[in-house]
């Protein structure tokens, strides 16, 4: 996008600017969307044929449903954000569709059906996806300009803190397998406020840093070779960060904690352009990690399980409380999949048991689609992140830049933390793989996230409005803001 801009300004810099800007690429998006719908439909048929030897009866309605969601998303983007990035919607649709197929495939597992907590997840996930697309549509329609969000900087701060505290409220919060990250709303089910807090916190960081970035970058004191900002500039942001970390420690949700921290450091670095922030951030994270690990047995156990998953498996088999064989089962699923995988519906990833369709869903991709499939999925995520970063580069206002990089950075970190945890690259933390894993909050929040990114990219790529007719136009050179 930046390249089209430069060429544009190079050829037109002396004349009035017409409405002809970068091509909108809406037709590209439509063509890609067709693939993003057809591929999961084929995958769905594939699972049905493998498990029941017949095409699943819901194939048509599933295909139409996914097509409808994609179609509505596309039409709304075409109408309200015509210059938005053409790749993100198809990518999100494809991942969401594949996730639905694999969740449905795990619904068919007799082993999981035998579990006491079994519920058919696919219909619910389809509903959540519809809700997610509704959120996406709402963001595109009602958020005419992302800079409006800047007004709500401090409300966002309060909102993010509120969302994070909610699970700790007695009677509202719900403890599931050691993590207090859910809230129970009677009649609606459970919500994971942390997923939404991610977006709200990004808005706050972006708004705050935009205002304070000069102060943070320039009015600093040199201390041991590092430029430290003044306390009054940094104070509030450190406080927010510390509070969010503390809450997360109490909720023992370390993945989200890591995610927020990473997002914070990335945005601070982009806002101040000071490398010393990276060093400072790494030091803080190291201190935080060691500090938390020294008193949280939960964390120590996760690290042990990561270092020696086989021992963890054996302890779990011996019935030692608090140990789980899931990490080892996930590794076996990946290994058994090999290069090309067993084919959809033909693996045994249901051995993972609990959370096979949420936190561990990547293992099913690994076993049934193999190395090839997982690499493709990871590259799809890579592409979404890349489009997000591009949006940040193309954005013309600092708030938009900060918000875009904050959101895409958080998205990337989340993918890394979940996928890395399931594949045994880093200790396992309970988080959901965006769009693919089962979980309403995650799907809805990530669709909203994509909506905001599309809005920023639309603003960034939209040609500048034609200036009002000016009698002096002949004599005035208009310099395009870049």
């Amino acid at each position: 996008m930046s390249s089209t801009n430069t060429s544009h300004s190079a050829t037109h810099h002396t004349s009035t600017i017409g409405a002809i800007g970068a091509p909108s690429r809406r037709n590209t998006e439509l063509a890609l969307l067709a693939f993003a719908v057809v591929i999961p439909v084929f995958a769905y048929a594939n699972v049905g044929l493998a498990i029941n030897d017949s095409v699943p009866p819901g194939l048509l309605s599933y295909g139409l449903g996914l097509g409808l969601l994609a179609g509505v998303g596309h039409l709304v983007v075409r109408k309200f954000a015509p210059y938005a990035d053409p790749l993100m919607l198809p990518l999100a649709t494809l991942l969401n569709g594949l996730g639905l197929v694999v969740i449905w495939r795990l619904d068919q597992s007799e082993k999981l059906q035998a579990s006491r907590t079994f519920v058919e997840a696919a219909p619910r996930q389809l509903m959540y996806s519809a809700l997610g697309v509704a959120f996406f549509v709402a963001v595109i329609i009602f958020l005419k300009d992302h800079r409006v969000l800047q007004r709500y900087t401090y409300i966002s701060m309060a909102g993010a803190l509120l969302l994070l505290v909610l699970p700790l409220v007695p009677g509202l919060g719900k403890n599931v397998f050691g993590a207090r990250i859910w809230i129970q709303i009677p009649g609606l089910g459970t919500i994971q406020p942390g997923e939404f807090a991610k977006i709200v916190l990004a808005v706050f960081f972006a708004g705050y840093l935009m205002v304070k970035r000069d102060a943070l970058a320039l009015a600093s004191r040199r201390f041991m070779g590092l430029y430290l900002p003044r306390g009054r500039d940094l104070g509030p942001i450190i406080v927010v960060w510390a509070i969010s970390i503390l809450i997360l420690v109490f909720e023992t949700d370390l993945g989200t904690s890591l995610l927020f921290f990473g997002m914070f450091v990335i945005m601070l670095y982009v806002a101040t352009e000071r490398t010393s922030w990276i060093v400072f951030g790494l030091l803080m994270s190291a201190a935080g990690a060691v500090g938390v690990a020294s008193f949280e047995t939960h964390v120590q156990q996760r690290v042990q399980a990561w270092l020696d998953p086989m021992n963890e498996f054996k302890l779990s088999r011996q019935g030692v409380l608090g140990h789980t064989e899931q990490s080892m089962q996930a590794l076996w699923a990946f290994g058994s999949g090999g290069t090309l995988g067993t084919g959809l519906g033909q693996g045994n990833s249901d051995l993972i048991g609990f959370a096979a369709n949420s936190d561990f869903i990547l293992a099913t991709f690994g076993e049934e689609l193999g190395l090839a499939g997982v690499m493709a999925i990871l590259l799809l995520y890579g592409l979404i992140i890349e489009r997000g970063v591009r949006t940040a580069l193309a954005a013309r206002d600092p708030f938009g830049k900060l918000l875009a990089i904050g959101l895409s950075g958080a998205f990337g970190l989340q993918v890394f933390v979940v996928a890395g945890g399931v594949m045994g690259l880093i200790p396992l933390t309970g988080m959901t793989l965006p769009f693919v894993a089962y979980g309403g909050s995650s799907v809805i929040a990530n669709w909203a996230l994509i909506g905001i990114l599309l809005r920023i990219s639309d603003t960034a790529r939209r040609p500048a409005p034609a200036p009002a007719a000016n009698p002096d136009a002949e004599m005035t050179q208009v310099v395009r803001p870049s």
């Binding site: 352009e273 076996w332 890579g382 992140i385 890349e386 970063v389 580069l393 830049k401 045994g424």
Partner: protein
Amino acid sequence: MNKPLRRIAIFCGLLVLALLIRDNWIQYVQADELRTDKNNRRVIIERYASPRGNIIVGGQPITGSTETSGSDFKFKRTYKDGAMWAPVTGYASQAFGATQLESIEDGILTGNDDQLFFRNTLDMLTGKKQEGGNVVTTLNGAAQKAAYNGLKRQGGKGAVVALEPSTGKILALASYPSYDPSSFAGNSTTTDTKAWTKLQKKNNPDDPMLNRALRETYPPGSTFKVLTAAAALEDGLYSEPDQKTNTPLPWIMPGTTTPLKNEGNIPCKNATLRVALQYSCNTVFGKIGADLGNDKMLDMAKKFGFDEEHFTPVRANASVFSDDMNDSQTALSSIGQFNTAATPLQMAMVASAVANDGKLMKPYMVDELQSSGLDPIEKTDPEELSQPLSPENAQKLQSMMETVVEEGTGRNAKIPGVTVGGKTGTAQHGENNSENPYAWFISYAKDSDDSAPVAVAVVIEDDKAVRDDISGGGLAAPIARNVMEAVINSKK
């Protein structure tokens, strides 16, 4: 602000790259290791995913598969006459793993063996379900039945091994008491686990799951004298069966003041090899051992297959002849006492080598591996292990062993119209020989064309029988005779 943005872009790229590398590590580099890990349940799910191939004896399967429900295992192993065939098949249990042939030939039986790769690929293309191949054994159903029923009738613990001397084919391999592998082939915690627990040694002192034919070593007692006689002939210490030996009576063991005793009042003074074998003279063979010395005796024992494990392909324990004995210990060892210990398979190999004119064939029980379409995949060819004695000396030894059956301690093994050679053994064991001895018998039978179709070793450890009644000739020889008869009759 764009410079840090680009750096963040690179950082995100590195994160994705790290994930891609890790994925290649676990799904490519370590994939095989993870896939075949014994704790990975997929290994047994795979084993029981399709009807398992069969183990075949004489054209008839002795195993089967039935469809099961209620777990992730589709099929369950079944056995016909499971207890009789257990020493051959081993077991394949959903809950407790697999052993022996079921484990060694698992690849063929499940159809996952690399040798079936081409066929499997074809099947995949034509949409045929993968099926397991068969394992065709060398065993003889009638001989096995005679062996197992003989042991069962006897009631004590024991084992029988029968070989085809000219090829090394295992014809019978029985162990008693035995177990029915069907009883714990499934994975039910009530029936299967209970049956399994009951069979464990700590709950059942008879240790029915021990494969006595291959995995238990007994002092061979007097049957070892055949090997000592072979050593004497090969060394040239004595060259003829009817040549007088130089054996005083009583004979004091070298370096000691203890005379070596014979059982009862038998004509052992300077007895010929033939007479000594006929009456089982301890003095004659003990002195031969002492005269030849530890090294020469050990050398001969090794040529007969002692001191090494044998893979049939089911592993048989190594039989023992010590290498650091003085002359009196060598003397005791040469009559099958002291540290000497042999598996029933080993003693059958001794009889087999003598019957096969001195040539020892490698014992084996898998004749052929077949694909599910019954096409041969791999055939086992008979293989010569060694030549412990020359054909002439082997024939001399044969005539001596035949005398044992005609006129000596092995009369119970006589078969009308068939030439039988054998040797009895009654091995002392326990502290000061306080426990009931083991009864041994090794023998072979000859066809009219002078070739030997079968060689047998029988051992019985009977703590119920009255001590004096235990003798190789009394308890073990009749079983050996029935097994040999069964083989000869099945040839007709």
